[in-house]
Symmetry: C2
Subunit: 296 residues, 2 copies
Amino acid sequence: MGNQLEIRHLKYFLAVAEELHYRKAAERLYISQPGLSRQIKQMEEDLQLQLFSRNNRKVELTKAGAYLKTEIVRNLKNLDNIIEHAKLLHDGVEGNLKMGYVGSAMQKIIPNLLLKLKEVYPNTVFSLNEMNNQKQIDALLAEDIDVGFVRLDRVPERIAIKPVLIENFCLVLPKAHPIEENNFSSIKQLENDSFILFDPNYSISYYEKVMRIFDDAGFSPTVTHNTIHAGSIYKLVENNFGVSIVPRSLQVEHIKGVKFIELKQVPHKTTLSFVWNKDNRNPILKQFLKNIINKM
Amino acid sequence: MGNQLEIRHLKYFLAVAEELHYRKAAERLYISQPGLSRQIKQMEEDLQLQLFSRNNRKVELTKAGAYLKTEIVRNLKNLDNIIEHAKLLHDGVEGNLKMGYVGSAMQKIIPNLLLKLKEVYPNTVFSLNEMNNQKQIDALLAEDIDVGFVRLDRVPERIAIKPVLIENFCLVLPKAHPIEENNFSSIKQLENDSFILFDPNYSISYYEKVMRIFDDAGFSPTVTHNTIHAGSIYKLVENNFGVSIVPRSLQVEHIKGVKFIELKQVPHKTTLSFVWNKDNRNPILKQFLKNIINKM
DNA sequence: TTAATTAATAATAAAATAGTATTATTTTGA
DNA sequence: TCAAAATAATACTATTTTATTATTAATTAA
């Protein structure tokens, strides 16, 4: 085969496969359209297969082309990860682990974890990215992150899941609210309060679980505010905009204007789970699972 | 980064990483040594890391270089697999599945399987390679084959294993041998016969299992011949060179000069297992596991 | 100490890629 | 229906990149 396939060809191909338009793809690649045409043709000749079916006007992926598109994306991303890791090795770092987490894990789980990690892996780089549940799953599948902390009960097949914290919910009330730990019996007592909850868009499954608490109590809450930060919830509660329900691990002692009541009698629990991609070959992940996660 | 990493660089790098010698590597690549030097230097500049530590005389991989070597081999092999599969798609074939198997699976398991496969996947190409147990494991890890049939009890972590046939052993005797189905009680009766067995190099664990049968019976057999083909065993037995023990599935009806006695009372069984690499993403493999293997 | 061997460098030759101008087709819209 | 616009391909030229040859500095072995 007189020619040799190069990464250049793969990248050019992906651009055309995404744009399905030679001129636009060429623009994106900062090269001329005829040059791109020729490189794609060369790639087709080298692989001895047709990537696109095109009739001077329409550009469409063939079956083989469509398959190559997804697999080459994956292969090139893998190469990037390899190189990134090699650079870290070169800098004297043992490895790196990219973590995703939902905001509610930052209160207690993640900070403790980070302390432990720094001790056990002094030469490993840990990067943290707050993302919602679904974003983490997507990022795991694309191998953009190595591990995640989510509040989900079900995950796709390629993703492994391990619960790390099963906890009760907590009521968040303003300090002056008539309901106290000792006169609280049911959430029904809050039927007339308005509720500040986490935005359902942030995590549908979490939101639905909270709604089931109200269902069981036999009323629909008035939801006046949606937010994605526990801090905002506390501020709103403190200023009498309403009351809230949060996972117990978000309970903080030193907040002045609010008080917490743990819903011990409510059967619904929220589970913070650790997730990772079964295909992920980051050597740090393996140790991480063995030394950290299994001891939580 | 003025330059762009290409597959050429990766292949050149692998050659030097394997030879640890620029001139020899250049020879292997059919290019000149200075050209190779420059390309490696270019790759180091592009990646911003040192691949080799070299002092005009000695060439050694750095830590990052050693890591890159194994991972790039894997990445390039993956790219090859992708392209191979795409070519098959282009030829109107749905997919391909490369199978390894130990010879003893060819008697009954593989032929039946192939018939079923041709029915269920008329547009898939199946390639068969007879290899011993260890070779199959190595080939699976290198993704040279997709699935295997082995007689092993333990496999490495990245390999999944599923038993498909647990069977008794069988004595193979010449037709004229005094021992018959009805006067046979223990293998001890064959203490003075010489034995023809499968070569221990072909599969140590299988050989050891057979030896345990003799241990339990309380004698050490005289092993006069080692072979790796059931057919050779039968020929040798037929011509009174000795007797043998084989898995029951190797029992064939229409062999003239030999007779079989199933060792029903012997607790040792031999297990033919189906194995595959957990990381393997061949779409045919997934269907194969669901539709064929789980129904065996 | 000399000869041989190694990887790197410099200069030049060869090859490959990219760009410009142009063309054959096809679509769009007046 | 016909002109204008837009698309991908082709031909040719310029530019860039890669490869080769000749040579050098450094190291080892005889």
